[in-house]
């Protein structure tokens, strides 16, 4: 508890106006709790000196902040136009098969969440798959099983 609190105080001090610490604080709480659970939002609100409702209002606006539990790993396949043109949908479907879940779901063991995502800003290196927020470029359906294997092996 107090670790996040102290860290958030430091964040507040690093801006001319403490309100700016909101997003970094939410990211921190997200990291610590795995997702922004009601308790995480409460803790964040206390540390910032605001209400949990305000934290939720902000958090729920942003795609990277999750208000529902997610897997320990996050696989995001860009399905916007540039990636779709070179086969992103097929990559996404291969992930669904390989992980045996539908997009938007988490594997029953809580390891991996799979979801499509809007343009990741790597259109020239399509298809982009963001694995735990690190980009894999030029991903083809045949690369998917290797990526899943790496995740399963905890790499």
């Amino acid at each position: 508890m107090s670790e996040l609190y102290t860290e958030v105080q430091r964040l507040k001090d690093s801006y001319p106006d403490w309100h700016s610490a909101m997003l970094p604080a939410l990211r921190l709480a997200h990291e610590k709790h795995g997702y922004l659970s009601p308790d995480a939002l409460r803790e964040c609100a206390d540390a910032l000196g605001t209400t949990p409702a305000v934290c939720e209002a902000v958090a729920s606006f942003y795609d990277m902040l999750h208000l529902k539990p997610i897997g320990r790993h996050m696989v995001e396949v860009c399905t916007n136009v540039s990636c779709a043109l070179v086969g992103a949908q097929q990559v996404l479907e291969r992930f669904e098969q390989e992980l045996d879940i539908s997009a938007g779901e988490t594997t029953p063991d809580g390891e991996v969440t799979l979801r499509p995502i809007e343009c990741l800003g790597g259109c020239g290196w399509a298809t982009i798959v963001s694995v735990d927020h690190h980009y894999r470029t030029h991903v083809k359906p045949e690369d998917v099983s290797r990526i899943v294997q790496e995740l399963r092996n905890g790499e």
Partner: protein
């Protein structure tokens, strides 16, 4: 060119001249033209331009319709609304079509129906049919967001009025928008209720039927109701209200914006506590004690006989305990009967308010423009005079400094002083402080709604000095606040006989010899004086189940050859020349004016009156806003009762390593209570605050431990 300080512009071909800084919506009104709006509400801060209902063609400007609500009038501007511009008409029609795309159109079963801006604007500017052939978005509906408010998300048009109120007016951070885009919705955190002093305002702000009052839902149609303009009688602010009645019953209370007093906001007590009128233990017949603890209902004729006997039997040894919620007329009538008819001058008055303050009289709205505000007295403003808190918050948003001691005012000129708490000496001390600080204005916040009016009325009836009768032959307890007051109860122990005027059995049972049913401020005609010193008009919204106090006081007075009129206007005509400068009853209008400040300062007490600070922390126990007889009788308000919390200043909390949410033991002289800590930035160091009902037997000096 227009005169200095004004600008001239054209709206649909009509020239108007308005002050610089006037918004286009208001400028159009000046030309007699309506620019339709949903999200625009100047009381909520800077315009947001969200709903796009106000689109107009405006030159100079980009070649597309502009959101008029976000713009100010400038010299030479040419504004074309839907009346004269096809582009604007098309734009407004488009906005309505988009709004209605997902709106359920369940107007026949919607409480807002008939008084709904969305209906009205659709009628005037909207498409006649729908081109939307898709299933509408649906939500679970309605969901309670508190015991007082229901939210129907399907009807919501996302104008963000409610969330802006929560964020920028009440600053409670409870009601927010979550998610994004077409998934956006209004919500509170998790399943927690919207719990804050001013929540009900969002019902009135909502331009559609998305936020409705659980207590008014399905109670009436707009064409079956009547609105009676009156003022709230539950705290010394005296917010202006409209009381909605149907078939002789109060159905709801709405604000009636007095820009100097309340700005159109109400607290939840004022808005919802009217249910006390229909409480189960409401009295309609007089009660006479027959056995030690038993009462018998008696006729009014008999009751007046008994009252006469009690008055005569006391032989002048009468003490009257007043509530401060009586109207000026009631208090004067009672005083005239007792003082002139029975030479009984002794009264326990509600807190007296000093005349010395009159030279610092300014409207409450002056707080918003102050640079510095000193809040003295340590009790929480919101619990005593809630709307004053909103004015202070507004001042802060405008950049004012709010301090808790005079020393902190520093060099700043024209401060405003507010005294909220015990030990104010009716404002005499505050007047002295105001004098020494060269204050622009000073407010003393008494505990009751009409303390000042009652004291003035009592004084107006006679000027003989009271004697202290011993033993007390008869104690007259006038009203529920007095009946609930422990000091009055203690006095009753010493009195031979007790006559209580009360609305509720629960308050009078057990200790009165005779109980006369009382009425509520919603059932009376008359006047109140609020904490600014503003005389305001109460209007009877509904007929009480028992005769008005004035009626039976008048008849009782006859028996003592005292002439008391049963009509408030006549009573006021008598008291006004003595206490209110002779203003006629009819002139105390719907938006009452504040009398000017008096010239010349009354010498007050010296500034050097600091109470010696004891070691340890000073405990301020306060009567919470959500307490008292009316609140206790409104089931939907129970969730608003104060939490078991102790408020601690940031300074003291840091010293003791206490954080909001910690369990803290508050102790004094061997007793202690454990409360949740809440750190407050409005509190000065050395002081802690606890609501009465959670303070147990704590003494004025306490210590904290975790």
């Amino acid at each position: 060119m227009s005169a200095a300080g004004t600008v001239r512009l054209t709206i649909d071909g009509i020239q108007v001249e308005v002050p610089k800084g006037t918004g286009l919506v208001e400028a159009a009104l000046a030309a007699g033209i309506e620019i339709p709006v949903f999200c625009y509400e100047p009381r909520l801060g800077a315009p947001v331009g969200a709903c796009r209902m106000c689109l107009c063609e405006i030159t100079p400007g980009p070649p597309k319709p502009q959101a008029a609500c976000t713009l100010q009038a400038t010299d030479g501007m040419d504004v074309r609304t839907a009346l004269t511009s096809a582009v604007a008409a098309e734009a407004q029609n488009a906005t309505l079509e988009f709004i209605l795309v997902n709106h359920p159109l369940d107007c026949p079963v919607c409480d807002k129906g008939g008084e709904c801006p969305l209906q009205d604007l659709t009628f005037r500017y909207g498409p006649g049919n729908t081109r939307m052939t898709f299933p509408k978005r649906t939500f679970d509906k309605p969901i309670p967001i508190s015991p007082l408010i229901a939210l129907d998300r399907e009807r919501c048009i996302l104008c963000y009025r409610c969330t802006r109120f929560s964020e920028q007016v009440a600053e409670d951070g409870q009601l927010v928008a979550v998610n994004r885009g077409s998934q956006t919705q209004i919500a509170t955190f998790e399943d927690e209720p919207y719990r804050a002093p001013f929540t009900g305002n969002v019902i009135e702000l909502c331009p559609v039927g998305a936020l409705t009052s659980t207590t008014y839902r399905f109670e009436a149609r707009p064409w079956e109701i009547q609105d009676v303009p009156s003022v709230c009688g539950l705290c010394p602010v005296g917010c202006n209200v409209d009381v909605t009645t149907r078939e002789g019953k109060v159905k709801r209370i709405l604000s009636r914006n007095h820009p100097e007093v309340d700005q159109g906001w109400l607290c939840d007590k004022g808005r919802f506590a009217h249910q006390h009128l229909n409480a189960d233990d409401r009295l309609s017949d007089p009660l006479l004690r027959v056995r030690r603890r038993g009462f018998e209902e008696i006729s009014w004729e008999r009751a007046l006989d008994v009252a006469e006997q009690l008055l005569r039997g006391a032989d002048g040894r009468i003490v009257t305990a007043l509530s401060g919620s009586e109207t000026v007329e009631q208090a004067y009538a009672l005083a005239k009967l007792l003082r002139r008819g029975l030479s009984s001058h002794t009264a326990m008055l509600p807190e007296e308010v000093s005349d010395a303050l009159d030279s610092f009289r300014v409207p409450l709205s002056a707080i918003a423009d102050a640079d510095v505000i000193a809040v003295l007295g340590d009790a929480p403003i919101v619990e005593r005079a809630p709307i004053v808190e909103l004015w202070v918050k507004q001042a802060k948003r405008n950049g004012a400094r709010v301090v808790t001691s005079l020393d902190e005012i520093g060099e700043a000129s024209d401060p405003i002083l507010i005294w909220c708490g015990p030990g104010g000496g009716g404002g005499a001390r505050l007047a002295a402080l105001a004098e020494s600080a060269s204050a622009k204005g000073a407010f003393y916040l008494p505990e009751t709604a009409n303390a000042r009016g009652v004291c003035d009325a009592w004084a107006a009836a006679a000027d003989t000095e009271p004697a202290n009768p011993d033993p007390i032959g008869l104690l007259i307890v006038s009203g529920d606040e007095a009946a609930a007051n422990p000091d009055v109860r203690a006095l009753a122990e010493q009195a031979e006989r007790v006559l209580v005027i009360s609305m509720f059995h629960g308050l009078a049972g057990g200790w009165a010899d005779l109980v006369l049913p009382g009425t509520s401020y919603l059932e009376r005609d008359g006047t109140y004086v609020n904490l600014e010193g503003r005389l305001q008009r109460l209007r009877r919204a509904v007929i009480p189940p028992a005769p008005d106090e004035l009626v039976w006081i008048s008849r009782l007075a006859e028996r003592f050859d005292v002439a008391v009129s049963p009509y408030p206007s006549a009573v006021f005509a008598e008291v006004s020349p003595i206490a209110f400068g002779g203003i006629p009853f009819g002139v105390v209008g719907d938006l009452a004016e504040l009398p000017p400040a008096t010239e010349g300062h009354v010498p007050g007490q010296s500034r050097d009156m600091a109470v010696s600070e004891p070691s340890g922390l000073r405990l301020i126990r306060y009567r919470p806003l959500f307490s008292g007889p009316a609140v206790e009788r409104t089931p939907e308000l129970q969730f608003q009762r104060p939490l078991a919390e102790v408020e601690i200043s940031r300074h003291d909390a840091t010293d003791r390593r206490i954080r909001t949410g910690d369990d803290v033991t508050v102790s004094s002289n061997g007793t202690s209570v454990t409360l949740r800590a809440r750190i407050s930035d409005d509190l000065r160091a050395g002081v802690v605050r606890v609501a009465d009902e959670h303070a147990g037997d704590l003494q004025p000096t306490v210590e904290l431990s975790t």
